[in-house]
């Protein structure tokens, strides 16, 4: 597969798209772990929801 004289434009487009998508995935993953950590710390400190259920409960 030859990309011809404009290869830098094509490769940059694909690399940039990959980078932005990976950044989005990383941001969402880190944010999820951070929120769960906050909830665990609060529950460990005795702060619980009015329902009594764990705030990290996903079921």
């Amino acid at each position: 597969m030859s990309l011809g004289p404009y290869a830098p434009f094509i490769v940059t487009s694909y690399l940039l798209a990959t980078m932005v998508v990976l950044m989005l995935i990383a941001w969402i993953t880190v944010d999820y772990r951070r929120q769960q950590q906050h909830l665990r710390e609060l529950e460990a400190g005795g702060v619980v929801r009015r329902s009594g259920r764990s705030a990290t409960d996903m079921r």
Binding site: I10, L16, V21, R49
Partner: protein, 243 residues
């Protein structure tokens, strides 16, 4: 599970936990197929290999508008039906929509340089998409600036609906004004003008990016629900300390 059940954030979290692994796998498979087909697509007789940028640029451009459309529906959900997840959906979608719009602008610019001889032109299509990107950033800033989520939700919903006026302007800008950007070649009267060799990889990439949006959006909504739980518990903790 009915739609009304999803108004309950806990039920929504439960559904999301079950759906996300399947959606992520489907997205990865479809992206791999789409990228392979894009790599194998022939060169265009006029554009040469630069036509491959289309397979990234066009799905991102479509999604930049689609995500604002989703946010506009969510804005109606906030203002009219006061659905508890409507603002969560809108807030979670904004950064993802901004990322797609950024990619549409930059890949368009990288495609424009070899084809038009310039990275940027202040024509109607490019300018209206830049305005869309700035509106995404404005909304994200608004949500960050207003501490009370319910007040932020109403202001953001109104701004989103006002911003939705830009969507038909973007779509029809190439018909209403004389622009450097080419007119629609897929979603147009009379069917797509693209050859199957380009149309199929483009549609596969469009579906793959749409699935990517759905996956990221559900995950970001889950995070936002947890963030609001953290806020509620922190307020309970603060009121307990002050009592």
């Amino acid at each position: 599970m009915t739609l009304i059940d999803l108004a309950n954030p806990t039920r929504f979290l439960s559904l999301t936990a079950r759906l996300l692994p399947w959606l992520a796998a489907a997205t990865a498979i479809l992206l791999a197929i789409g990228l392979y087909q894009s790599a194998m697509a022939p060169d265009d007789y006029q554009q040469g290999a630069t036509v491959k940028i289309m397979f990234i640029h066009v799905p991102n451009a479509w999604l930049s508008m689609f995500v604002w459309g989703v946010m506009s529906l969510a804005a109606l959900g906030t203002l009219v039906w006061r659905h508890p997840l409507a603002d969560v959906a809108a807030k979670a979608a904004a950064p993802i929509g901004a990322a797609f719009t950024f990619l549409a602008l930059v890949t368009g610019s990288l495609w424009g340089r070899p084809m038009w001889g310039t990275y940027w032109e202040w024509d109607a299509r490019l300018t209206s998409v830049l305005i869309l990107f700035l509106m995404y950033l404005g909304l994200i800033a608004l949500w960050r600036a207003v501490e009370d989520p319910s007040r932020a939700a109403r202001a953001a919903a109104i701004l989103t609906l006002v911003g939705a006026i830009n969507l038909p302007i973007i779509k029809f800008s190439v018909d209403w004004w004389n622009t450097l950007h080419q007119p629609a070649s897929v979603m147009r009267m009379g069917g797509p003008a693209l050859d199957r060799a380009f149309l199929i990889p483009l549609l596969v990439m469009a579906v793959a990016f749409s699935l990517l949006f759905l996956t990221l959006h559900l995950a970001a909504m889950r995070n936002e629900i947890l963030r609001r739980r953290v806020r509620t518990l922190q307020m309970m903790q603060a009121s307990r300390r002050s009592a």
